[in-house]
């Protein structure tokens, strides 16, 4: 196959619809299986000697927090492709992932706060990690607000894409905030962390499965929402044709 056509299924709307028709439910089912097994393990692992039962919250907090950044990266890449190549599907992909990313970020903040109260003695502290994640949420909300505020769709898409790209600067700040500043939030302690800081093996399985569930869930929801936006675009174009034929 010609290498130029390798990603046709993602760039050609017709092929994307054919691909996403089976890919979205498949990802959804795989995500549901990972979530089911992950949740069983979440409530089977022993409590942590320091965190007690609140360690179980880590299995929903860490994937939400990691995915909130990953989804923003997807938003940034899609926005860049939309700005540079003026590709319709890239714009729809950016538009579709913003609400999912905003919800994941809200979940990261809420579950983190609920974990912080018994562990740190407070729901919230204005440290660099928490504040930069709040800024991430504001970028998501700003992106959605800007898209909704402008009537001219092309202008809205371009303005929102520029805002999304500005927000990408915040991603390394979120990621490295715990290294660059003295924060109450602890440093990375997943399996990717330095030896000695990483997650104990018994907690690695539920953490990995829940991370896969959140990732697969995002993939499935993203595809479904892009499909919805493709249908909406088609409906608007048909409505215009109908109006013209009625004249």
């Amino acid at each position: 196959m010609d290498a130029r056509h390798t990603f046709d299924f993602l760039t050609n709307p017709e092929r994307f619809m054919a691909f996403s028709r089976w890919a979205a439910p498949l990802l959804g089912v795989l995500s549901a299986i990972a979530a089911a097994v992950g949740l069983v393990l979440t409530f089977m692992v022993p409590e942590d000697y320091q965190q007690g039962d609140t360690v179980r919250m880590m299995f929903i907090h860490i994937p939400a927090a990691s995915l909130s950044m990953f989804i923003y990266l997807c938003l940034g890449v899609a926005s860049l492709l939309s700005l540079v190549f003026r590709h319709v599907l890239a714009d729809l992909a950016a538009q579709a992932c913003a609400p999912i990313g905003a919800i994941y970020t809200v979940l990261a903040l809420i579950t983190g706060s609920l974990w912080g109260r018994p562990m740190w003695g407070t729901f919230w502290v204005w440290d660099a990690r928490l504040t930069s994640v709040l800024v991430l949420l504001l970028f998501y909300l700003g992106y959605m607000a800007l898209r909704g505020a402008l009537e001219d769709e092309q202008k809205a898409a371009r303005s929102a894409a520029i805002l999304a790209l500005v927000g990408v600067i915040n991603l390394p700040i979120v990621k490295f905030s715990v290294d660059w500043w003295n924060t109450l939030h602890q440093g990375s302690s997943t399996f990717l962390a330095d030896k000695g800081d990483h997650l104990p093996a018994i907690y690695a399985w539920p953490a990995a499965l829940m991370a896969l569930a959140y990732l697969g869930g995002f993939g499935a929801l993203w595809l479904v929402r892009i499909r919805a936006l493709v249908w909406r675009r088609k409906a608007r174009s048909l409505a215009m044709k109908l109006a013209e034929s009625a004249r």
Binding site: M44, G52, M57, I60, I110, T111, R227, L242
Partner: protein, 55 residues
């Protein structure tokens, strides 16, 4: 290993965290599917209308 649902004094933090996550995912799934269904039906309806209006 067996299930351990007794979170003791941490239950007031643990269960709301899981409940909020469950509600958020239920809303995301419901909203995404409803949005896709609504626009697909609208596009199909307009397509049928356009075809029927052709002479």
């Amino acid at each position: 290993m067996s299930f351990d649902f007794d979170a003791g004094k941490h239950a007031i933090y643990l269960w709301p965290a899981f409940a909020v996550s469950a509600v958020a995912f239920a809303w995301l799934i419901g909203d995404s599917l409803a949005m896709a269904r609504r626009w697909r039906r609208e596009a199909e309806r307009l397509q049928a209308e356009l075809e029927s209006s052709k002479p």
